[in-house]
């Protein structure tokens, strides 16, 4: 039972719950107090001092994000004094910011730039070179992500996001005063700092200080290389979020326009990672059945999420035997593009440039793993995030909203509903259950396993299949993964099959997806809205079980033989390595 208090904001009398902050009370009546460091539930440290307001009877200005409302409080949010204070704080931040907005990954989603515009900041300090800019530190040797201190406003949102969402604390403040920087300890290389590349920090950053490795130029160059045939694959979750970059509401399916945009960019062949999601289910399903029937290592862990695979290799390497040997759908697609598909196209694999569009930054590093290729070429040559694809579409002036939807055709583009839900937490498990139960029972089984859906951190269910109780669990986000292992070790519960994803909510909330501003993260349940797109696709698809996909049947007949065959092991399966970090020699 929330108690209510009466307060006055900018002359308007309102009644709000007593645990509200002034900012939240103002939000509730549509008054948007400026803010930069505030990220609800993640970072509420009031260190940017841009959300200041005047509370009648109190000295100075108060940070509205952290000051609670009290009965009879009279607040003003937009006086001359406040305007000057906020403008000045922004001037100070701008004085130390490197502006290269035209090529910044956050060209259209920079919260800092929005504030500079809102307050018409002159940027006198840096224009007049009134003080020395801080030293620029670049942490850019990782295959997936980079950290650029010249864009950092030291708000600390990434630090909190990493601690609270991934449970790892890879980033923190070091040094102090004007020498303060955010990064791994001693600004150590990100690839050796224990980072799993989930990208929660990127989604938290209000500027472009921490971002994916920007590789759109590589695609532009490849497109102009006349010796190459460009084959692109697109992950399930990209279509559920790409529209946000072009003004569509969160939760809009833009599949057809997405494919049309790829075509407009000049991509020669388009396939769908959804196809290899179906293939993953066949391979992983058979691997699971084999483990159950032949006393293999259980529980079996899914292996589609490279963030999760990084997590396991770095923090729980003793469980590597539990990890499915199946490659992720991206890498399965890559392997098929350079073998099966190359042959179909009549091309030499070295003349094929394979590009994948992913909601993920960890995928960039996954594609570079040395085992992900053969005969001197890589299966996936380039990974672009959903955001990078959006940028390249915008830069080229392609009118995304006006494009007529198309569907890719060809052997590697058809998919079932089971594949489409891969992008949501619980989706891989549900897709696997649809196929595994049917194979084990030898008859038609239900389509939906709703117990594993939803946004709860750890979801558990038990299904009675062919005489055994199969205990499954679904875990997403680094912090929950840590909690799950703790729980599994302490309770000793025997699980059979566990789905893990590195990002909370799964790929739909991946580190490469469109940025949702702090204000909109509060307003919308982004993960639920984007997941709904995938479950709707599933619902409306003719075939909803991976093994019913005619193209899957065909590729086994024509090329792979049978699930877990020698050929599929060679192309579709992989191995993992224990990894350490902060390997520093003195």
């Amino acid at each position: 039972m929330a108690e209510y208090v009466n307060i006055t904001i900018d002359g308007r009398q309102i009644s709000v719950p007593s645990d509200y902050t002034i900012m939240k009370a103002a939000d509730s009546i549509g008054i948007s107090v400026p803010r930069l460091c505030f990220l609800e539930g993640i970072h509420e440290e009031s260190n940017c001092r841009l959300c200041v307001v005047k509370v009648e009877g109190q000295k100075g200005l108060k940070t509205s994000c952290s000051t609670k409302v009290t009965e009879g409080m009279v607040v003003q949010t937009d006086t001359k004094e406040i305007y000057e204070a906020v403008s000045f704080n922004l001037e100070l931040l701008a004085g130390n910011h490197k502006f290269e907005c035209w090529k910044c990954s956050r060209e259209n989603s920079c919260e800092f730039l929005d504030l500079l515009r809102r307050f018409n900041v002159d940027n006198d300090f840096s224009n007049a070179k009134l003080f020395d800019q801080k030293e620029i530190k670049m942490n850019d040797t990782s295959e997936a992500m980079m950290l650029d201190s010249s864009k950092c406003v030291l708000c600390g949102r990434c630090v909190s996001a990493c601690e609270k969402l991934s449970g790892l604390g890879i980033l923190n403040f070091s040094n102090r005063g004007s020498n303060t920087y955010i990064g791994p300890a001693q600004f150590h290389n990100l690839e050796d700092a224990g980072c799993i590349y989930c990208g929660k920090c990127i989604q938290a950053c209000p500027t472009g200080a921490i971002r994916e490795k920007d590789e759109i130029k590589l695609l532009e160059r490849a497109l102009r290389d006349t010796s190459k045939t460009i084959v692109a694959q697109v992950a399930p979750s990209v279509r559920a979020a790409l529209g946000e970059e072009f003004g569509y509401k969160i939760g809009t399916n833009v599949e057809g326009q997405m494919f049309a945009a790829l075509k407009a960019l000049g991509i020669h062949e388009i396939i769908d990672t959804n196809f290899t999601a179906d293939l993953t289910i066949i391979e992983e399903g058979h691997e699971f059945i084999n483990r159950v029937q032949n006393g293999g290592v259980l529980p079996m862990f899914t292996s589609c999420s490279p963030g999760w695979v990084n997590y396991l290799e770095l923090y729980y390497p003793e469980y590597i035997p539990n990890l499915s040997s199946c490659k992720s759908p991206q890498q399965m697609a890559g392997a098929l593009i350079k073998t099966y598909y190359a042959k179909k196209l009549g091309k030499d694999p070295k003349d094929i440039y394979s590009v994948s569009i992913m909601p993920c930054v960890a995928k960039k590093a996954e594609a570079k793993r040395p085992e992900m290729g053969r005969d001197g070429y890589m299966d996936v040559d380039l990974v672009l995030t959903t955001r990078e694809l959006a940028r390249i579409i915008r830069h080229r002036g392609i009118p995304f909203r006006d494009l007529d939807p198309i569907r890719p055709f060809g052997d590697l583009a058809s998919y079932t509903g089971a594949a489409s839900i891969f992008g949501a937490s619980g989706g891989v498990m549900e897709a696997a259950l649809r196929t595994v139960t049917e194979i084990l029972e030898g008859k038609s089984t239900p389509v939906e396993f709703t117990e594993v859906r939803g946004l709860q951190d750890i979801k558990e269910a038990t299904y009675h299949v062919a005489g055994i109780d199969v205990n499954v669990a679904v875990v997403h986000g680094g912090a929950a993964i840590k909690g799950f292992f703790k729980m599994m070790k302490s309770t000793g519960k025997q699980y059979h099959f566990v789905e893990f994803m590195g990002c909370t909510g799964g790929c739909i909330n991946g580190g490469g997806q469109p940025i949702v501003s702090a204000v909109n993260q509060e307003k919308y349940d982004v993960r639920a809205l984007r997941s709904k797109v995938l479950y709707n696709i599933d619902h409306n698809t003719e075939f909803r079980k991976s093994h019913e996909n005619p193209a899957i049947k065909m590729i086994y007949d024509e090329f792979l033989g049978s699930p877990s065959s020698h050929k599929s092991h060679e192309l579709l399966h992989t191995h993992y390595n224990k990894r350490s970090f902060y390997d520093v020699k003195i």
Binding site: E163, I170, N172, S174, R176, A185, A193, Y582, V584, I586
Partner: protein, 160 residues
């Protein structure tokens, strides 16, 4: 370059023993860092890593604390630590000249350690000995009424 850190098994064992004790109490990080600084003479990344694993605190957070406080250092300090006071009284009486002289004669910048590992030069804020200004300290010894002329002599004595 500068002094070397020596991470021997004995020292690491000592650190583990200390942490075992501090882990029983709330807030074990600060006392552990004090101990680590004493044992190793600095807290480089490999030592931070040991502490991180044992106390379940991230390395980045530990480094944040280590680099925040002047008492801790990531890089090894020299055998002798020369601190010249730049507090108001000392500064007015010319301590900057003393600092510059040390910097010149030891061939190090402020905050650095000499190549032979013998000296680390630091600038410090008021040490509360304004009546003796300008002052500098070498390890725990305070040199009162300092002068540029004293610098060479002090260095020579310490080098022996």
């Amino acid at each position: 370059m500068g002094a070397k850190v020596n991470i021997t098994d004995e020292k690491v064992d000592e650190l583990y023993a200390v942490m075992e004790k501090y882990k029983q109490e709330p807030g074990p990080l600060m006392p552990t860092l004090h101990a680590a600084q004493r044992i190793f003479g600095c807290i480089p990344l490999p030592v931070q890593k040991i502490i991180a694993n044992e106390l379940d605190v991230s390395i980045a957070r530990i480094n944040g604390v280590v680099t925040f406080y002047g008492h801790f250092s990531v890089e090894p300090k020299g055998e002798n630590i020369v601190s010249v006071c730049l507090g108001t009284a000392c500064y007015v009486k010319g301590s900057q000249g003393i600092l510059d002289a040390f910097s010149h004669d030891l061939k190090v910048e402020v905050g650095e350690t000499s190549e032979d590992g013998l000296f680390t030069l630091e600038a410090t804020r008021c040490i509360g000995a304004c009546g003796l200004a300008p002052v500098f300290t070498v390890n725990d010894e305070v040199y009162a009424n300092g002068s540029v002329q004293m610098v060479k002599k002090v260095i020579q004595t310490l080098k022996k």
